[in-house]
Amino acid sequence: DQQVKQNSPSLSVQEGRISILNCDYTNSMFDYFLWYKKYPAEGPTFLISISSIKDKNEDGRFTVFLNKSAKHLSLHIVPSQPGDSAVYFCAATGYQKVTFGTGTKLQVIP
């Protein structure tokens, strides 16, 4: 039973435009939500997080939005750059473990 879901396996965006990656979850007890970025042949690296008590967190070009009533979070990348092309994993913490989604492959077209 997938508690953290990323329903879009891939996304293509033009350079300079906004990339929006989506994630849904089922467990209302999650404490923190995170995004990880993964390049081919490398391990995932932490990108940005948001506490369950907040609805927005911004770090440079990256903003994460949390809608608790809808059990939905999204990652906005503005403006998108070719170096942002990677697989993005949504994750959530709770019950002493970190649960990951299935990943969305973002391609930013120059």
Binding site: V4, G43, T102
Partner: protein
């Protein structure tokens, strides 16, 4: 900068053989984890260790065993490999177990193919 070192980088293994994936960290983190990444399934937790001397089961522990004799090392053993264990394996660590901020540090992965 080292962080987490995994070995081997890749391996082809005959079904029924045993294999140990090695993981070493130099950050003195208390908690360590093993995940496997499979297409369409994301990252799934196999085993974890909150501190040296303790281990626990994750989502998909069957067919795998771990040990944590000291802070730095967390090897993953497949006693008798099966083709369904073909995957990319990632070792990770965190300063505290399942940190509130969720920040884990990952190694570069070990690609295992079981034939």
């Amino acid at each position: 900068t080292a962080g987490i070192t995994q070995a081997p980088t890749s391996q082809i293994l005959a079904a029924g053989r045993s294999m140990t994936l090695r993981c070493t960290q130099d950050m003195r983190h208390n908690a360590m984890y093993w995940y496997r990444q499979d297409l369409g399934l994301g990252l799934r937790l196999i085993h974890y260790s909150n501190t040296a001397g303790t281990t626990g089961k994750g989502e998909v522990p069957d067919g795998y065993s771990v040990s944590r004799a000291n802070t730095d090392d967390f090897p993953l053993t497949l006693a008798s490999a099966v083709p369904s264990q073909t995957s990319v394996y990632f070792c990770a660590s965190s300063e505290v177990p399942a940190p509130n901020t969720g920040e884990l540090f990952f190694g570069e992965g070990s690609r295992l193919t079981v034939l």
